[in-house]
């Protein structure tokens, strides 16, 4: 065991994440008895670990949080009947609840469902969806190409697909597949442009959408394929998705955003 591992295991034992019986802790303690470097380092490391543990755990709880949670999270009837802290519940009450729930579910099926706003993760899935499985776009807004794109792409409405593919949501977002030749690339890069009205995009993520395509920053989600750019123009949000190396998307952006002559 080296010095670095030794200090890690000593710290884990000190904070209770490992026990004195763990083989690694035994080895670490043996190492400590013979290693002057660790003997020098360990007291400071231990003090630092304890201070850090105390500081990280020290998060003030907002007053009234417990009461708000207990008020906002409805107690399930089925659970409360077997609870450690039993709540008064009668068979009749359970039956009434079940009846109300059935009625509510029935009613909701015929109620026009407002679609929840889409997040970037959901939009990012537009990269892996089969184009053939997407319906023609029949949305309630007029999708058009971003200003800079219009100089490089022709807009053919017959290519515009509806996304997400399922149910009533298919007109929420317009999805346009595209390809673009990049200098030095044997094949044109392929991507998908998603267009949606601003209010249909998750409010918490709207600040991520820059004012125009040029300013957008290449981003990606760990664990999801490809990279994306997100920006807004007028009342529309644009998300450009491209599979593979984020550098391809960055080059595509630079190439499209480069000023060009009128000739």
């Amino acid at each position: 065991m080296d010095c670095s591992d030794t200090l890690e295991w000593l710290e884990a034992a000190e904070l209770g994440q490992a026990t004195a019986a763990d083989t690694e802790v035994v080895q670490a303690r043996q190492h400590l008895t013979t290693c002057p470097v660790c003997q020098q380092e360990w007291p400071a490391r231990k003090s630092w670990a304890l201070q850090l543990a105390a500081s990280i755990s020290d998060v003030p709880i907002p007053s009234g949080l417990r009461e708000r949670l207990l008020a906002d999270v409805p107690m399930p009837a089925a659970v409360s009947t077997t609870a450690v802290h039993p709540r008064r519940s009668s068979r009749r009450w359970v039956l009434m609840s079940a009846l109300c729930l059935t009625l509510l579910v029935g009613l909701l099926q015929f109620w026009p469902q407002p679609q929840p706003p889409l997040t970037l993760v959901e939009l990012q899935q537009g990269l892996s969806v089969e184009l053939a499985g997407l319906p023609e776009f029949r949305g309630d807004f007029d999708p058009h190409l971003p200003a800079i794109w219009a100089t490089s792409f022709d807009f053919d409405r017959s290519f515009v697909r509806g996304y997400p593919p399922h149910g009533m949501a298919s007109g929420q977002v317009a999805l346009i597949p595209f390809q673009y030749p990049l200098a030095g690339q044997p094949e044109p890069v392929k991507g998908r442009l998603l267009i949606l009205p601003r209010q249909r995009f998750a409010e918490s993520q709207r600040t991520l959408a820059t004012q125009n395509f040029r300013q957008a920053q290449v981003q990606y989600f760990r664990g999801l394929p490809g990279a994306f750019l997100v920006w807004s123009e007028d009342d529309l949000i644009y998300v450009c998705l491209m599979p593979g190396d984020p550098e391809h998307l960055a080059r595509f952006q630079r190439s499209l955003a480069a000023p060009r002559s009128l000739t």
Binding site: E8, V59, I61, P62, L70, V73, A78, V79, L120, Q205
Partner: protein, 177 residues
Amino acid sequence: MADSGMSESLFAVIDEHYGLVYRYASRLSGRQDEAEDLTQQTFLSARQHLEQLRNAGAVKSWLCTIVRNLYLRSQHQQQRWQEWCDDYHPVTTPDPKFEIDPQELQAAIDQLPEEFRTPLILFYFREFSYKEIATQLQLPMGTVMSRLSRAKTQLRTLLTSEPVAAGEPVSKAVSIG
């Protein structure tokens, strides 16, 4: 405590664990309002899936997993296009008299990539063993330990703000300009 998760009512679950859930959500998100939202969503989600819980002893881990999943789905999941160097330089431990400023601490935690931040928070909460952290994050224990070690080094560097090895940056952002 009984074996069955069903034996622990939602009331008792909230009562016993809301503090941990909130603290974890707060450290992960770095924001009070978001932490409270995440806490509420966690218990709403727990309410729906309470019957899936078979081992009452695992409630803490189960709740923390829900918090993290919800957090990852929230806005902060998006990662800037940034890569972190693998070759961290060793940093000596700061002087024991070094005081940790709460605001600087959260700012430093916020700067860690999520896969480093999460094990670090769980480790210093002292609620879970290495093994439990690995199970919760569905990672091999070796991976958790190596991430933890790197996270600690980064945190020490960020908090002490001392240049690492003659001014070498700890992280590098890939320029897209």
